[in-house]
């Protein structure tokens, strides 16, 4: 990765200090440096750094505030914030886990979406600590960057063909098998829901089906919502609601990023990735409110609102995913606004039919410093998804609890004996935070990677 460099003649020391550690550092520092630090009121408050000049007026040392416990994003702002072309080294004793986390935070902060214009500035680079597991850092960070790129790409250049093309690239790079079902073939292959949502677009709907790993290894199946643009369909979104809808394939991007990590780190699992890729467009042949679709599973669903399309394409993909009885079935989707109202844009929501897995998800997220929050598959709301004419409605009659109701809908397509978790994510950073620049973002995937490693071994 460009953000790392093996060695360089001149490097600038980055010194992470905690609030408590700052005084000790100042005591040992040359008087001029200590004076500089005090003159700038640098007190080790979170998310701050200070450049200390060297004798010749160059960049000497970079002090960066470090919290206790340490944030993996301690260095996350620096690649963009330090003077262009700076080459840095990290000072301090960091054991492997910490050094790896800091390097990953650096790499995640070294992101720029350069497809449509030149990079504004040359990012600073880092000579990583010898203790960091750089192969892991690069595998994870490059997968994250890939996912961000896919989300940031405008819908015009990221239709169903481009999205499944990205899946094909990842498959080819890792020796995975891939099958893509396209257009009317979705009907003959019995993915009627994917077809119904995607048929109105001039860019035909697709389903990407990737498999990788030994067939006798534990089966992990990922499903990602790939709505390349969501106009809302006949229930057309207003301008404010439609503006960001290039990100409605954020679940697919996140699932693909996670799949990429799993394959690059060679986890001992049989991986399957299912991406229904569609554009929810308006045309004469668009599906309509109160249409009834017979899904892959045979359940009939009544379309309560054409803008609740994600759950429709997911239901066929989940039914196929669950049919193999995987050890773990995980779907990721930018599914509901209600999930954003529930936990805000920065905390992905998840629901699971398996309490043990739900606890493992929470613990893993904590370990990798991600936020996630569980909502319940509340049985009392199941009857609210009843339809008058079909087996169930896509939207139901419930007031509130939109994220829960959507998950209860999806639950119908997953068998009880499959451990399943559903993630409702934003797929987008509204604001830049250290290591998480504004724009497209894959969410919850580092925690899921850890959870899969904990369960099946690395």
């Amino acid at each position: 990765m460009q953000c790392f460099v093996d060695a360089a003649e001149h490097t600038v020391a980055i010194v992470p200090v905690t609030r408590d550690g700052l005084e000790a550092w100042l005591d040992k520092a040359p008087a001029a440096q200590a004076r500089w630090v005090r003159a700038h009121d640098f007190d080790g408050s979170a998310a701050r750094h200070l450049i200390i000049p060297d004798d010749s007026g160059g960049v000497g040392t970079v002090l960066v505030a470090m919290t206790d416990p340490m944030s993996m994003f301690t260095l996350g702002d620096l690649p963009m914030a330090l003077p262009k072309g700076t080459v840095c080294r990290l000072e301090g004793d960091f054991e492997t886990a910490e050094a790896t986390a800091l390097a990953l935070g650096w790499a995640m902060g070294s992101y720029n979406f350069g497809r449509y214009r030149k990079t504004e500035r040359e990012m600073a680079r880092l000579v990583p600590l010898a203790t960091a597991r750089m192969d892991r850092v690069v595998a994870i960070a490059e997968s994250v960057h890939l996912g961000r790129d896919l989300i940031n790409t405008p819908a015009e250049d990221m239709g169903p063909a481009e999205l499944t093309g990205a899946v094909a690239d990842v498959a080819a790079a890792n020796g995975a098998e891939l099958r893509i079902i396209e257009g009317d073939e979705l009907l003959t292959e019995n993915y009627p829901s994917v077809h119904a949502v995607g048929r109105a677009s001039v860019r035909p709907p697709r389903l990407a089906d990737l498999t990788w790993g030994k067939s006798d290894a534990p089966k992990v199946t990922l499903v990602g919502k790939g709505v390349c643009f969501d106009s809302g369909g006949l229930d057309l979104k207003p301008a404010t609601g439609m503006k960001m809808m290039k990100k409605d394939m954020g679940g697919a991007a996140s699932a693909l990023a996670l799949a990429s990590m799993i394959m690059r780190l060679n986890l001992p699992v049989r991986l399957r990735l299912l991406i229904p890729a569609v554009e929810n467009a308006v045309a004469g042949n668009a599906f309509r409110p109160l249409d009834v679709i017979t899904t892959r599973k045979g359940l009939t669903i009544e379309i309560g609102n054409t803008d609740a399309e994600g759950r429709v394409i997911l239901c066929d993909a989940l039914a196929e995913g669950a049919s193999e009885k995987p050890d773990m079935l995980i779907d990721l989707a930018t599914l509901t606004g209600a999930a954003r109202v529930a936990l805000g844009p920065e905390i992905p929501v998840y629901l699971s039919n398996d309490d043990t897995m739900a606890v493992a998800i929470e613990e893993s997220a904590k370990r990798v410093q991600e936020d996630v929050w569980r909502l319940p598959l509340w049985p009392g709301y199941r009857k609210l998804m009843d339809s008058d004419v079909a087996d169930l409605s896509t939207t139901g009659s419930g007031r509130g609890a939109g994220a829960i109701n959507a998950a209860l809908f999806l639950e119908h397509f997953v068998s009880d004996d499959v451990s399943w978790a559903h993630f409702d994510i934003m797929g987008w950073n509204l604001n830049s935070r250290p290591g998480r620049p504004k724009g497209g973002e894959v969410m919850a995937v580092r925690g899921l990677l850890d959870m899969i490693e904990q369960r099946f071994g690395a």
Binding site: V341, L343, G344, D371, L375, W378, Y381, R399
Partner: protein
């Protein structure tokens, strides 16, 4: 007030056999062919809320069989009193399943109707107090719940700050608790500027109700309840759809009073304090305005981002006052945000706690008594969204997400650093009638909190 629908033993009580789905399968084979055939032919399968009347040969009622479903809860048989023939008297049959306390409490809750403005359209079937039933516990809980529902159901015209005071006074008096009240302009001299600011525009002056009960050396439990007797929204006036049910915006106060009544009736070994800021959020020339800044009781300056986010403002002063005496446990109840409903729907109240074990214990207690809550995070990362340009904090965030979390983060500012605090964002309204829970006012989360207190402090003598 007495608990309705539960009666002393009568001679001609009809047996009521309550059975789970599994228990029914075993029970039915032991029945005479006539009974088994009737139940089979009428399609009875012991689902929760389903019941069937079994006839005698002479056409009289031989027994009533009621289903409890797979997992019995408080409400499994609570639809019976309003669905069975009026004036039918039943007695729980020892062959049945399900906890007698739960059946009795659900029964009582299912009999209650709000009769202040009209007679009930129909009566209800009655249940003989089951043997081995905790009569005092069932009575205390059911009475408190029904009282709380009545307070919420009472229209704002008849449930202003003074009426809420009267309700608190009645509850205090029957238990020998003391109630002190600070009213109107005295709120300013006594240091409750935020309560005064929100309530001053109403023709009915704001109040702070402060109830004390119990021995001084017992663990201090303090309950705070949002008592916005009607919420117009103020200058940020609600639209008609949003304002329609705003008589219920004192539901938090009703919850606090309901829990207090249970605690005092059953003499839990705690020193109880209840603080209720009772106001009407009205619109008048002197009403607070958006971007006004209030110096609160705690000295924190708050900028009013939206006059319709008034609940957190009055709670700020009440929570600060509560923490001045360092309670062992501080719980506030509030019908605070629409966002909590968007997140969790009508069935689940949202709870926040500084200590995660407090949230877990409360949610466990709630599930055990069929009064469910779900935990929500005090996500510190969202606090900067409430930055004010002029004051120490704004009352609302600068984005439209997670308002219930933003509100909880705001309230946390007014709670002592070391205080164990639980905040409950509750709906206090049943949108549709369900077994034992008629459409209308509800003290959602009150029984959960009472159960938590019983588990923490014991049930007294």
């Amino acid at each position: 007030m007495t608990v309705q629908g539960l009666i002393e033993a009568v001679d001609d009580a009809v047996p009521l056999i309550t059975l789970t789905t599994a228990g029914y399968a075993a029970w039915i084979v032991s029945q005479p062919a006539r009974v088994a055939t009737w139940l089979r032919r009428t399609g009875f399968e012991a689902e929760a809320g389903h019941w069937q009347v079994v006839p005698e040969v002479d056409g009289d009622i031989a027994m009533v069989v009621a289903g409890l479903g797979d997992t019995p809860d408080l409400w499994s048989a609570a639809s019976l009193p309003s669905e069975l023939p009026d004036d039918l008297c039943l007695a729980l049959d020892p062959d049945g399943e399900g906890a007698a306390d739960a059946v009795a409490e659900g029964w009582a809750a299912g009999c209650h109707r709000f009769t202040r403005y009209r007679k009930t359209k129909r009566g209800h079937a009655s249940l003989v107090w089951p043997q081995n039933c905790d009569r005092s516990g069932v009575t205390a809980r059911a009475e408190a719940v029904c009282l709380g529902r009545d307070l919420v159901n009472t229209p704002a015209e008849d449930m202003g700050p003074a009426d809420l005071e009267d309700a608190a006074e009645a509850i205090a008096q029957r238990a020998g608790a003391t109630l002190s009240v600070i009213q109107g302009e005295k709120l300013l001299s006594e240091g409750y500027p935020a309560v005064h600011a929100v309530g001053r525009a109403s023709a009915r002056p704001p109040r702070l109700l402060d109830l004390h009960w119990g021995r001084d050396d017992a663990p201090r439990v303090t309950l705070v309840g949002k008592g916005v007797c009607f919420d117009t929204g103020g200058h940020d006036l609600k639209n008609a759809a949003g304002m329609e049910k705003m008589k219920k915006d004192m539901g938090g106060a009703a919850c606090a009073l309901a829990v207090a009544r249970m605690v005092m009736d059953l003499e839990l070994p705690v020193r109880l304090r209840v603080l209720i800021p009772a106001v009407e959020n009205a619109l008048d020339g002197n009403a607070i305005k958006p971007a006004d800044i209030i110096t609160t009781r705690k000295g924190i300056n708050i900028e009013i981002g939206d006059t319709d986010a008034e609940g957190r403002v009055i709670l700020a002063d009440a929570l600060a006052a509560a923490c001045e005496e360092e309670p062992e446990l501080l719980i506030d109840f509030a019908t605070l945000t629409g966002a909590a409903r968007v997140a969790l729907g009508q069935d689940l109240a949202a709870c926040f706690a500084k200590k995660s074990e407090d949230a877990r214990d409360l949610c466990d207690a709630g599930m055990a008594v069929s009064d469910p809550l779900w935990p929500m995070p005090l996500a510190k990362a969202y606090l900067p969204r409430m930055a004010s340009d002029l004051a120490e904090i704004n009352t609302i965030a600068d984005w439209a997400f997670a308002d219930h979390i933003q509100a909880a983060l705001f309230l946390e500012k007014f709670v002592g650093v070391d205080t164990s605090w639980i905040h409950i964002d509750t709906v206090c309204w049943n949108e549709a009638g369900r077994a034992g829970r008629p459409k209308g006012g509800e003290v959602q989360s009150a029984r959960a909190v009472f159960e938590l207190l019983c588990r923490r402090y014991g049930t007294g003598a």
